[in-house]
């Protein structure tokens, strides 16, 4: 019985060894399987990842201008007794190639034990054509392109800005210029004429009064005095007081209109020259301040 037991133990060990060998062989066979490498076209890079190749580590073989396929090993990982690679390749000429021809082992040993690494590089051009296809004809681009469009938009924007600003400034300038060019005498003349004719409404009478007082303030150099102070001084000024007092009587005193001879009051201001005030020497009136 002991013998039988010993024989049985031996056969079990043997079975285990056979199983282990079978497993290694199966693993090797799986490692030796090479996936189908993707096709590519001329100039377009393709890539294969996690490719297990037996033997020592590989590297890309040197290449020159005549090499039809450029192969790069991008990453290498140990994989049991084999190595695992991420490889990219780029075909420069159409045709079918075996990448083994463009690889070599780092230790200089042969690569004959490698499986075939066949790739097909196709071309989009008809055979014999070495120049690229002409561009497909499409609709015409915008006239002048983007820069011209930007320049045109800028010009339009500027034109609108000028249109918005310039005429208004011009109008304001014209207004102020027109007002500035009208002397006080020019403004007084029509008011005096209408007042003498009895045609002035209250708002124009008010304007006439202010203009007459303003005339005397300018004439006597009282422009810089506060208006109330200037009026007080005018009321006591020998030349201006008759006008100021009669204006008050005419325009503000109850029933005062009948007491004033409006024609006589306004006659000195009927035909004032436009530059009347310019000719008045201010220094002569300096005492009135």
């Amino acid at each position: 019985m002991r013998w039988v037991e010993g024989a049985s133990r031996t056969s079990v060990c043997g079975l285990c060894a056979v199983a282990s060998w079978c497993a290694i062989v199966a693993a090797s066979a799986r490692a030796a399987e090479v996936p189908k490498l993707p096709r590519s076209t001329v100039g377009l890079p393709a890539r294969v990842e996690q490719l297990v190749l037996q033997g020592t580590e590989l590297e890309a073989a040197p290449w020159d201008d005549a090499t039809p396929v450029v192969v790069r090993i991008e990453a290498v990982y140990p994989h049991g007794t084999a190595m695992r690679y991420d490889i990219s390749y780029q075909g420069l000429e159409p045709g079918e190639y075996d990448l083994r021809a463009y690889l070599r082992r780092k230790d200089g040993s042969t690569t004959d034990d490698l499986p075939a690494l066949e790739v097909k590089i196709e071309t989009l051009l008809p055979p014999g054509q070495i120049r690229p296809n002409d561009l497909a004809s499409g609709p015409l681009p915008r006239l002048g392109g983007y820069r011209l469009l930007l320049a045109a938009a800028g010009i339009v924007w500027l034109a609108v800005l000028i249109w918005l600003l310039y005429p208004r400034r011009k109008r304001a300038g014209e207004t102020s210029g027109a007002e500035a060019s009208l002397s006080l005498a020019d403004r007084l003349r029509p008011l005096v004429a209408d007042a003498t004719a009895g045609r002035l409404p209250p708002e124009k009478l008010a304007e006439l009064e202010r203009a007459l007082v303003g005339y005397w303030r300018r004439r006597l150099g009282m422009d810089d005095l506060p208006p109330a102070v200037a009026l007080e001084k005018l009321r006591s000024h020998p030349e201006a007081s008759p006008l100021v007092r009669q204006l008050e009587t005419w325009l503000h005193r109850p029933a005062g209109a009948g007491e004033v001879d409006i024609n006589a009051l306004l006659s000195p201001y009927r035909d004032l020259p436009a530059d009347e005030l310019d000719r008045v020497p201010v220094a002569a009136e300096a005492h009135s301040r």
Partner: protein, 351 residues
Amino acid sequence: MATLERPAPRLPNDAAARTIRFVEAVRDRIATVVVGQDIVVERLLISLFTGGHLLLQGVPGLAKTLLVATLSKTIDLSFARIQFTIDLLPSDILGSEILDQRTNDFRTVKGPVFTNLLLADEINRAAPKVQSALLEAMQERKVTIGKESFRLPAPFLVIATQNPVEQSGTFELPEAQLDRFLLCNRLDYPDAVEEREVLKRNMALGVQREERGAIVKTEFDVLEGGPVGSSEELVEAMEVVHQVHVSDTFVEHVVELVKRTRSHPRIELGCSPRAGIALVKASRARALIHGRDYVVPEDLYALAEDVMLHRMRLNYEALADGYTGADVLRQLLDEFGFTRNPTTRASHIRI
């Protein structure tokens, strides 16, 4: 000319004469205590005669409080003073209801606002809700305490003061509330002659014995004797002011001046119609104080700053250019009076 044929207003000459005597008596009495400040006294009288409120703006020490206290003693008017502070409550001014423990019922205690002449000292130091409470009373001339409304005594005049220098911890009155003051007068320092007189009078005040002690007299102790005017005379003066003649031409001046504040290129917020009303009212009172029964443009010019300046707000460009409200008003009056060419927007805008 149709516009000139107006019926003459019937001014009771004897009443006008009495009013003018009343004004002179008040001015003389005030002058015994307060030196100078003729313009402010005139503005006080204008406010009294028109029933409009007055805001006095000036640095401390210009006799604002003394002036108002003196006026209240000069005319037979009740007077109260409230020093506005940050912790003041509306009930401190208006009054409140308190529980009477004997009757177990609420009793209304009226505040200091129930007076003829109320001095609101440093009004900008109080919180806005207190300012609003007072300004509502000023506007409506009545106060509601609890569920009951009470009319304020007549005349009721608020004279508020503001210190323009110390602005920290103050609440500036908004334009809408400033608009309720008929006049805002900016007090200036007295000239050298007036200041000399102030010092002389102060040096002559002396000391007043009280029981076993003594106190140094102040200007507040100087006013002696009874009032020189009664509230009846004041009422008569108010009636006479309403009969002062205002010509159509003067109204046109006012309308034009107020209108120009709304279109001036340096003014953001122009004067309201209330400014025009205030100008006419104040001009009438000033005319009477100056012995006239009709207003003249001089009244308008003299009162323009006090009536209009606190009702205008300059725009950002004017402020950035360093203009003050007084500068712009001065320009506006010069343009209005034909002594300066109009300021146009073109001459103002810088591009």
